[in-house]
Symmetry: C2
Subunit: 251 residues, 2 copies
């Protein structure tokens, strides 16, 4: 059992709190039973499981690389207030571009909770791919991971330049629907196609103009009251469910 927060393995794990450390080792941390169970079920490579001294190792993790640590060591590694005594080091997964009817593209959304919630909604709405463009919160940020509630292990998420994403989507004949306030039609008038991609943007500034200009359609959600706008993850989810309904009624 490791009892010192200065232990070399623990110190290396703490470097995974930062993006630099994650990129260098191609791995990241997840906390809590539920997320670890989801990662395991989805066959992600769990490299190490750190378990607090007094806890039993769940049966599905027996045979895995388990590291027992004292409460003090555990708390020094944990990033949430109640991580349920279990933290795992998981290897990142690299996906190639996927041919799928419904794709969500996110342009420069900075809030980790919004990114995670959109990945969760994309999973729920049956979207096959999520693309995080430049300026988005890192997929492996602990708050992003927590907000996905496990959906990051179900839906392929690519971090790539939107220029490149557009090329891939074009090659596959995907109809790209951008959200914007100007020059946009009510989303209920969106034209349905066999393959569609929804593009949403930054909380304050919206989608970069260059990507709006290159889109096939521009839609907006009407505001009936006095609110200035909807939260981006709310707007994306309303539109994703609408697109799922439309595409299901066509096919």
């Amino acid at each position: 059992m490791i009892t010192s927060p200065q232990n070399e393995r623990i110190k290396r794990m703490k470097q995974l709190h930062k993006k630099k450390g994650r990129v260098q080792t191609n791995s990241f941390l997840i906390e809590g039973f539920h997320l670890i169970e989801e990662a395991y079920a989805a066959k992600w490579n769990i490299q190490t499981v750190v378990v607090r001294e007094e806890l039993c190792v769940p049966s599905f993790l027996q045979g895995e690389n388990v590291l027992r640590v004292s409460e003090r060591v555990f708390d020094s590694l944990a990033q949430t207030n109640s991580p349920q005594g279990m933290i795992a080091v998981v290897e990142m997964k690299t996906y190639s571009f996927i041919d799928t009817p419904l794709t969500l593209i996110i342009d420069a959304v900075q809030d980790p909770g919004n990114i995670g919630t959109m990945i969760r909604s994309a999973d729920a709405a049956g979207f096959g791919l999520v693309i995080l463009g430049e300026g988005c919160a890192d997929l492996y940020n602990d708050k992003v991971i927590r907000s996905t509630q496990g959906s990051m292990f179900h839906v392929p998420v690519l971090q790539m330049k939107l220029e490149d994403a557009y090329k891939e989507l074009r090659m596959r004949g995907t109809n790209i629907v951008a959200t914007a306030l100007e020059g946009a039609v009510d989303y209920t008038k969106m034209i349905t196609d066999e393959k569609m991609a929804l593009l949403v943007g930054n909380e304050g500034a919206g989608v970069h103009q260059q990507y709006i200009d290159m889109a096939d359609q521009i839609v907006k959600i009407p505001i009936y009251g006095q609110a200035e706008s909807l939260n981006v993850s709310i707007a994306a989810s309303i539109l994703m469910y609408d697109m799922k309904r439309k595409i299901a009624s066509v096919s």
Copy 2:
């Protein structure tokens, strides 16, 4: 100018960080230019504006009760990291029950961000009333206020027992639509009525069974992927926009 965080007025204001202090004085704090501007425009009673020493008082606040404070005093009162140098004490507003086509009822949702986001979405979707039942985060909690983005000043929000809310809604002939996983129909099959109320519940446990049993309809949002559920503020917003569309197409 107040330079001591131990100043009696500042100490009394700090008591508004807690629900007890807010209830005792019937007032609450809001931070930042945008929220203060929204409260002012909506004619809420701004009792005091605390302004950090080096800042100018915006023109619409001239003539109000302005209190100049040093940076140290300001920071001791602020609850956000970047409160833009301005905090206001605002009097609570008491609404009576309102006859409106669309009402949102929230049962025991604990996360302040979810409560605030739902109030914002209710405003955007043209809902006329929001009801917070027992077990919900307090409306005047700073995180709730921030997440409403000002919509709490646009839409009447009542904090009351759901039994009483049901009575009021029944008296007005409102069709109550509860969300649940069991015994529910797909939300696209929801029956439209002239007056409708949407009932959503706690993040983990959902709506209390007694309120589901008393509802006129039970609906759910289908999950197409592997996510276990949607975030409650996402689900509520998808349903509110769907109800708004349905009710608009009827009238």
